[in-house]
């Protein structure tokens, strides 16, 4: 049964929310529910870029489409796991909004912050609004001391070497003007979370106006983590690359 929602409010802007998924069958429905809950008077669309999840993510998305409408939830799937950067590019091709939000599907990014992103952008006319976990009003839950140590150490190193202009480099909860995202993403070549760093550093170098809003980050309550392996080596290599090429 499709639910017709009357969209009022600021009809001048449309927000395309790109959510890359892989095995997020449990979380994607929650994310969609919460987005609709917190963006009642906003014109938006949710673009789910699923990389051929074997756990039935796409089936759930189709049920959500049936409920909310195919104009509000776009399923733009790919055949197999192809990585985050290309997922954004793929989603971007189907985005019809003048703003693009990128966020994770695993509930670490809570849709309740979406209004604050939108408000900040409208107030400051920023090209990019990025969520930061490291300032007052933001925060993290579910990290042990080791995790906090690596996060802090990584951050200090990156701040010293790169002067990035933002407090949270690896965060991936961001709002972009669509044209700005298209410009920045075309010059990025990294993979994974280094890609997120590269995006924000390149944007800073290009002189784009970037604002930050505090967000809280609850770590991986449900679902399995996709992070693993020699992260530290990857990170250092990424830093070196960014130091030399931006």
């Amino acid at each position: 049964m499709a639910e017709e929602k009357e969209r009022k409010g600021d009809g001048k802007h449309k927000y395309s929310i790109i959510v890359p998924t892989y095995n997020e069958r449990l979380n994607i429905a929650l994310i969609v529910y919460l987005i609709f809950k917190h963006l009642r008077d906003v014109d938006f669309e949710i673009i789910v870029v699923d990389d051929g999840s074997p756990d039935g993510t796409q089936e759930i998305v189709k049920q959500l489409q049936h409920l909310y409408g195919e104009d509000r939830i776009l399923l733009r799937a790919r055949a197999k796991k192809l990585g985050l950067g290309t997922a954004y590019i793929h989603g971007l091709k189907h985005a019809t909004g003048d703003f693009v939000v990128i966020m994770d599907a695993d509930l670490s990014h809570h849709p309740k912050y979406l209004p604050s992103f939108i408000k900040k952008q409208l107030e400051t006319n920023a090209s990019i609004v990025t969520g930061t976990r490291y300032v007052k009003g933001g925060g993290v839950h579910g990290w042990n001391l080791m995790r906090k140590l690596t996060s802090r150490g990584a951050n200090v190193l990156a701040q010293t070497l790169l002067w990035p202009g933002v407090s949270d480099l690896t965060g991936s909860f961001r709002l972009y003007k669509k044209s700005v995202l298209e410009d920045v993403i075309s010059s990025c070549v990294s993979k994974g979370y280094v890609f997120q760093m590269e995006m924000i550093v390149r944007a800073t170098r290009k002189g784009y106006h970037i604002e930050e809003v505090p967000i809280t980050f609850v770590d991986r309550v449900f679902g399995t983590s996709k992070l693993g392996g020699s992260e530290i080596v990857e990170y250092l290599k990424g830093l070196g690359y960014l130091l030399l090429t931006t």
């Binding site: 919460l34 409920l67 490291y134 925060g139 802090r152 190193l157 809280t216 309550v221």
Partner: protein, 90 residues
Amino acid sequence: MKHVVKILSLLVAVSAFWIVLLQAAIVPQSHTWLLPIYFVVSLGCYGLLMVGIGIMQFPTCPQEAVLLNHDIAEAKDFFLSTNGIDIGTY
């Protein structure tokens, strides 16, 4: 200008200053020779201090986990009882 060029120019400027100090011998040369080591060590200590302070001041939000659980229960209820969609168990 690429960022790395900025950093290198800064290093060149500092090195030039150091060499001038060596030549001018205002400060005893034995001390001047050790300046780069002092600099690197201070930088390291500063970095460690920043990491330590950062960890102590790390903002945490345990209440967010509780709120999240409420949201999940609310969503599950909405999907199941209102629309008959079972989104699974946790």
